[in-house]
């Protein structure tokens, strides 16, 4: 009996050893992450060279300002004021004093260096985890000096992806229709800019009305509707070369263009004799395919991003039904 009880006793004892307290953390805060963007350090010789080429006093600070602005506009980061930084950029890039950075409540730190190498801009940057006291990422790249803004965007993309898990969107551009002039004589131009509003550029002169520009998801092509010679047609524009062309050889009005998710096709509406149907055109072999054939107005087709299907607005002439 005693033995049995002893065995039982030892059986029960290990319960104590296994009783590790577990606490489930299912909530957190959604406050912007405090991040310190130290100006990229630059040596005097490189600084002078860049000043000559780019007319910018300190290209290192300019790039870090782009990064800082990007992070701030994302809403997920809170770039700290540079006035509070205790460490100089050149030393911070070698080995940051994490105590100094955690003192100003920074959780992440970006440091870097800019060099002038063979007429080119060489940028290296490091992302540091201030609380863990370790380097999270280090990347260097070389480009032409005029690309310095893009360098800032690419740095932001990398930092953003590393800290949030989501791919960055900073190295992107926005195409839009710029309007100017009085109401009675409004001019609409196709324009493009960086996602932060810089590098604004007009793509058309404003002689004709332009509408619904759409980016190709895979390359630098844009499709849009232009009323060239008062005939609304879908056009294709290559931003890099400036080449423009009419999409398909339709004997009437084409409108509402969009690219397919793989960027290989354009889907649009073609109207003839009061009836509009949906057509696609393959950009590689220019083959036009009729998709719908209803006696109703089929317009605004759009591909689903996942499947090879699309949605469209279908208007019955008699009943005005929308699908």
């Amino acid at each position: 009996m005693k033995r049995f009880l002893l065995i039982l006793f030892f059986f029960i004892l290990p319960f104590k050893a296994f009783a590790l307290i577990e606490v489930d953390i299912t909530r957190g805060n959604l406050n912007p992450l405090p991040i310190a963007v130290s100006p990229l350090s630059i040596d005097e010789n490189s600084r002078k060279n860049f000043e000559k080429i780019l007319k910018k006093k300190n290209i290192g600070s300019e790039i870090s300002a782009v990064v800082e602005n990007n992070l701030k506009t994302s809403g997920l980061f809170n770039p700290l004021s540079k006035d509070a930084f205790l460490q100089k950029p050149d030393i911070a890039n070698l080995k940051p004093r994490f105590e100094d950075w955690s003192l100003i409540k920074a959780q992440a730190l970006i440091t870097g260096k800019v060099n002038f190498v063979n007429e080119k801009l060489r940028v290296e940057f490091r992302l540091w985890d201030v609380l863990a006291g370790k380097e999270m990422m280090a990347i260097a790249f070389t480009t032409v000096p005029n690309n310095w803004r893009r360098v800032g965007h690419i740095i932001t993309d990398k930092v953003y992806e590393r800290l949030t898990g989501e791919k960055g969107y900073f190295d992107t551009r926005i195409i839009y229709v710029a309007e100017e002039g009085p109401k009675t004589k409004r001019i609409k131009k196709l324009a493009i800019m960086d996602q932060d509003g810089a590098n604004n550029k007009f793509l058309t002169l404003g002689n004709e009305l332009v509408l619904t520009p759409r980016f190709n998801p895979t390359n630098q092509m844009v499709t849009y509707l232009s009323y060239f010679r008062n005939l609304p047609r879908v056009y294709l524009l290559d931003i890099e070369t400036g080449m423009q062309e009419v999409v398909g050889d339709f004997p009437g009005m084409t409108f509402a263009p969009r690219f397919s998710p793989d960027g290989k096709k354009i889907i649009m509406s073609f109207a003839k004799d009061g009836n509009s149907d949906i057509y696609t055109m393959d950009l590689e072999n220019r083959i036009v395919e009729k998709i719908t054939n209803y006696p109703s107005i089929d317009t605004s087709p759009s591909y689903s991003p996942m499947e090879n299907i699309f949605v469209l607005i279908l208007t019955e002439v008699d009943t005005n039904k929308y699908i």
Binding site: M1, K2, L5, L8, F9, I12, F15, K16, A19, L20, I21, E22, V23, D24, I25, T26, R27, G28, N29, L30, N31, L33, L76, Q107, D129, L131, A132, M136, Y160, E161, R162, L163, T164, G165, E166, K167
Partner: protein, 248 residues
């Protein structure tokens, strides 16, 4: 017509009820439920232990009651004989004899004696088991943090943890961190339990989440731990689960 309607209604209703139940459990802190279950289960085990030893106790009690019957008769006979000589004094002696010596004289007494011994043993045993269960109770009480203690710790870490918002909410992203703490709540050692997963290709999201959890722990130092019972919380496991936040 009425029957199909009746048949349909019950099919529609149960899911609604179950959804409500889930919401309630979420609001009332799911993590506590499994612990409560564990404690209940352990408590049941304790009861089982006691109940297993309890039945022999009863059997042994019945036997001594039944056996002394012949004994009493013998005692009475002796008492009658001796009463004639020294009624008062011998009474005490008789009682003593009846308790110890007389049991040896007769077979039934031997049995009774054996039973008595076993009774003593069982009593000891019961005492022992009682002690064990008391210790256990202490252990179980000490095993978990109280609700207020846990809530204080949770609230503190909630404030420190910046959830990376780019994470997909449908993946199994649970980061478990084991901590070794000092009595004042500072972290001596923090270890991610699925550390190997961090550097696997395609597990970028897990890495991001794990790093954010580690940052939260470091930022929160010293942790708001109870002032007493260092032994029970010196090792602590934190399970970081962002699904609830990311889905909502």
């Amino acid at each position: 017509m009425s029957l199909p309607f009746l048949a349909k209604k019950p099919i529609d209703l149960p899911p609604i009820v179950s959804v409500e139940l889930i919401q309630i459990t979420e609001k009332t802190n799911i993590p506590f439920a499994p612990k409560a279950k564990k404690i209940i289960e352990k408590a049941k085990e304790k009861e089982k232990l006691v109940s297993e030893q309890a039945p022999p106790k009863k059997v042994k009690k019945i036997k001594p009651d039944s056996v002394p019957m012949p004994e009493d008769k013998v005692k009475k006979i002796e008492k009658i004989k001796e009463d004639k000589q020294n009624p008062e004094k011998i009474d005490n002696e008789v009682k003593q004899v009846s308790e110890f010596e007389k049991k040896e004289l007769f077979d039934p007494n031997n049995i009774a004696a054996l039973i008595d011994k076993s009774k003593e043993e069982s009593a000891e045993a019961i005492n022992k088991t009682d002690k064990v269960t008391q210790d256990q109770q202490k252990n179980f009480e000490n095993a978990g943090l109280s609700l207020s203690e846990e809530d204080a710790l949770k609230a503190q870490i909630f404030g420190c943890w910046s959830i990376p918002l780019g994470l997909p909410y449908n993946e199994n992203l649970l980061v478990r961190i084991k901590l070794q703490l000092k009595p004042d709540g500072t972290v001596i050692k923090s270890e991610i339990l699925d550390h190997a997963r961090m550097n696997k290709p395609g597990q970028g999201f897990y890495k991001v989440l794990a790093e954010s959890a580690l940052r939260a722990v470091k930022l929160c130092q010293p942790l708001r731990v109870p002032t007493t019972g260092y032994e029970r919380w010196k090792d602590l496991q934190l399970n970081f689960d962002a699904r609830e936040m990311l889905e909502g």
